[in-house]
Subunit: 477 residues, 2 copies
């Protein structure tokens, strides 16, 4: 393991993170709030970043293990240093780490009991972390993960000029820049739209951070319900839906071929899930809560898009719905957005390919000798891609089960444990019962908080990245 | 599709089933109860059986599709005709079908509200169905399924002289006879042991039926709790554990090599699950219900063995335990007994191989070019066996999720829906909440009962056997 290159990259990352904190510092000055949390944050982060960067300056290429370690430790380092402003503000370190990891992983599960009691600049930083985390995710997905040969090399389908097999660095700049551009342009459009719909600049920016990053933090305890505006909700639905789509696909649709998005099987599947789940949920809500059709549509579409894209916003307390409506939301939590987006979850493409695999095996059990490959977007899915997807899903579920078991055995009810596990592992945000959308994760046992931090970290980094580091062979020479 | 051979086999099966009903008829005479349910049952079953057998007499070999159809329709036919005595006794047809399918699939989920109100002969037949179903399972597993190339050809490892690839019939007699012998000898031993421990002959026989078939019906509403005898529970634990082990392995251990059982990886895994789950549950129960250590051991070991082997007996109402104890039971429900036993569930060997697969993929993500096959009992697991296991688990979970969704959306709470689905799909018996061990499935919506009947059928026949019949290619020429 080349530790020098790892520490060098972490140094660069911290320098970038420290500079990011200048934004909430300016917000603090604007609202005449204490700049101390950010001054201390910037100081400690920059000092550490510059120290690492100058001591271990390295232009070495990343090999497989270095790439795993860089990805995993990047999010850990971001958690430790990003939490400094919260800790200075008086939040306990464990809760601060939870909230920061929740942000950088674009989870949006909140541990703050009384959100409105915090300063505007702290809440701004809390939301901004999501947006920064979303940028990191784009790099991770588009540039790094495909090279790690995990979870399906071809999943993102970015089709940027690729580097040679063992060198990862050159590609990062090529592809990530294009996708960051898409991300930034969409972000600007969303701020404008939300502002025009009546939100203050502060609210528009923070909610844009949370929806473009599919993060779901809101500076208000009641979340989107606080605005009670169907127009704002419609804008958020649109941008959540876009943020959950493959950014490379969006780019190619805008600049190469407008029709390409309608031919993409993952996008079609993703859209179909939204339509079907919303339709079912409307019917269930009509029966279960007896609201008028427009309200049912409003709740159903917003919550389905919010949970499928793993944003986690709520325009009503869906935790109060009967189980017969909540089951629809529970199921979409196990799907997630598209690969190459900021969304979490197992991702639509993996679920789609797994369904194709099951269908294929049924065919094969009747025609054992037939040769008929599994296809995606007209191309044969390579066998090892399928293997990677299957092992991803297997390990994802093992982590989910282990987490549910551990949280439950601490005395938390099963449904809370199930949803707390999937919502953190899938980087969604809210769950049911004790961790509902209007509740806080602060009531959970301390050890459960640690497990959920691990879930967010594992889930965001596509499970393998973190889990391999716990195998002995990763550390062997 | 050769319909003649299918109808011919079903005819033979019904003739056998009709003769089986002579046993509860004798029980009815012994207890001076109405013989009518069984006389009508025998009459209708034998007439249909003889009609089919004589009209379609066929010695043709079974090809792939015929084998699928024979297996699936055998259990359906057994359900329809086995239910006649219950219907004659006044139970509604849907409930009678549920109870009979529950028996023949060795599930043991009961829909009878007041069990003790039924006649001794009816309750005898109810328990006996399980034992007959267990015999059918042995044939299915040892002789038929391995030839269908589903779910892992080598899973059972019966190693009986095999026939040629396309001919299934000859093997049935060879291997099944040996394993039936094991089954019958163990059954006799269990009756003797239970009788010596103080059970009446009637109770000993019916509970032997239920434990050797891993079925779990009891003629008493409170189940094993009714006896309140640690000795009886210890005997049941032993025989449930044996009934959940691979019968071919038991045979070879007894007659070939006494040490072989301790070298078998599936048996070791199965035993390890019992030990670990029991230990964890003892600790959880100590904290949750505060009982003395012996009571905790008694409850924990009995319930872990009962639910892991998918028997479903209860020596206490575990549904009253807090979730932090129930979670242990919920997890073992997703494992099941060993292949080649009468137990249901995904089976220990599949879970073990899936864990090995996950571990193997983690290794591969660090060493992408390494060649290191997955091994089981020292032999390399062929790639297509692994594929079959994976697709089994994928389809098993899809059915589980679909069933949970459908039952839940009807207005049943999520935990009841989850456990009602896994307990019927895994042929376990009891679940949590509305379908707890001391409750009845009668309170479930009618459509949910149909879904659960389908679950039992699908789960017992290793999912593929039933599911392929719903694909268009199965019916194509
Ligand atoms: K989220
Ligand atoms: K059972």
């Amino acid at each position: 393991m080349n530790q020098k290159v790892i520490l060098s990259v972490l140094g660069t990352l911290l320098r970038f993170l420290g500079m990011m904190m200048i934004v909430p510092l300016l917000v603090a000055f604007y609202y005449h709030e204490s700049p101390l949390p950010f001054l201390i944050g910037i100081g400690l982060t920059e000092i550490t970043g510059i120290y690492l960067w100058s001591s271990y300056k390295s232009d070495d290429d990343w090999k497989l293990r270095e790439a795993f370690a860089i990805v995993a430790f990047s999010w850990l380092a971001a958690m430790f240093f990003g939490a400094i402003p919260f800790i200075v503000e008086g939040i306990s370190p464990l809760n601060a780490f939870f909230e920061t990891m929740s942000g950088f992983t674009t989870t949006g599960s909140s541990i703050l009991d009384n959100i409105e009691s915090h300063s505007k600049s702290i809440l701004f930083w809390r939301s901004m972390i999501i947006w920064v985390g979303g940028m990191g995710i784009i790099v991770l997905f588009v540039a790094i993960l495909p090279k790690l040969a995990i979870a399906g090399r071809q999943l993102v389908r970015a089709e940027a000029p690729g580097p040679t097999e063992d060198k990862i660095k050159p590609r990062i700049r090529d592809t990530a820049k294009i996708l960051w551009m898409v991300y930034v342009v969409l972000s600007a459009l969303e701020v404008a739209a939300l502002h025009l719909a009546g939100m203050s600049t502060y609210d528009a920016v923070t909610h844009m951070f949370a929806s473009m990053g599919t993060g779901g933090f809101s500076p208000y305890g009641r979340g989107i319900e606080a605005f009670n505006s169907p127009l704002i909700e419609a804008i958020l639905i649109l941008f959540m839906f876009i943020a959950g789509a493959n950014f490379a696909l969006l780019y190619r649709t805008l600049y190469v071929n407008h029709k390409i998005i309608f031919k993409d099987e993952e996008f079609k599947f993703y859209t179909a899930v939204v339509v079907v789940a919303t339709a079912v949920l409307i019917l269930a809500l009509r029966r279960d809560i007896g609201a008028d059709p427009f309200t049912c549509l409003r709740y159903a579409l917003f919550q389905v898009v919010s949970l499928l894209t793993t944003t986690g916003f709520a325009n009503t307390d869906f935790n109060l719905w009967p189980d017969s409506s909540r089951i629809v939301l529970l199921l979409v939590m196990f799907i997630g957005g598209c690969a190459g987006s900021t969304a979490g979850g197992p991702k639509a493409i993996r679920i789609l390919l797994l369904l194709k695999y099951a269908r294929w095996e049924l065919f094969r059990s009747v025609h054992p000798k037939a040769v008929k490959p599994i296809k995606f977007n007209g191309k044969t899915v390579p066998e090892n891609t399928m293997q990677e997807i299957i092992s991803f899903v297997v390990i994802y579920f093992l982590v989910f089960i282990a987490s549910t078991f551990c949280i439950s055995i601490m005395g938390v009810d099963i449904l809370t444990s199930i949803t707390a596990s999937i919502t953190t592992l899938g980087n969604i945000g809210p769950g049911f019962n004790l961790v509902g959308p209007m509740a806080s994760f602060n009531g959970m046992p301390a050890l459960a908080k640690v497990i959920m931090i691990a879930n967010m970290w594992i889930g965001r980094l596509e499970v393998f990245t973190v889990i391999v580091m716990f195998t002995p062979e990763f550390w062997k020479k």
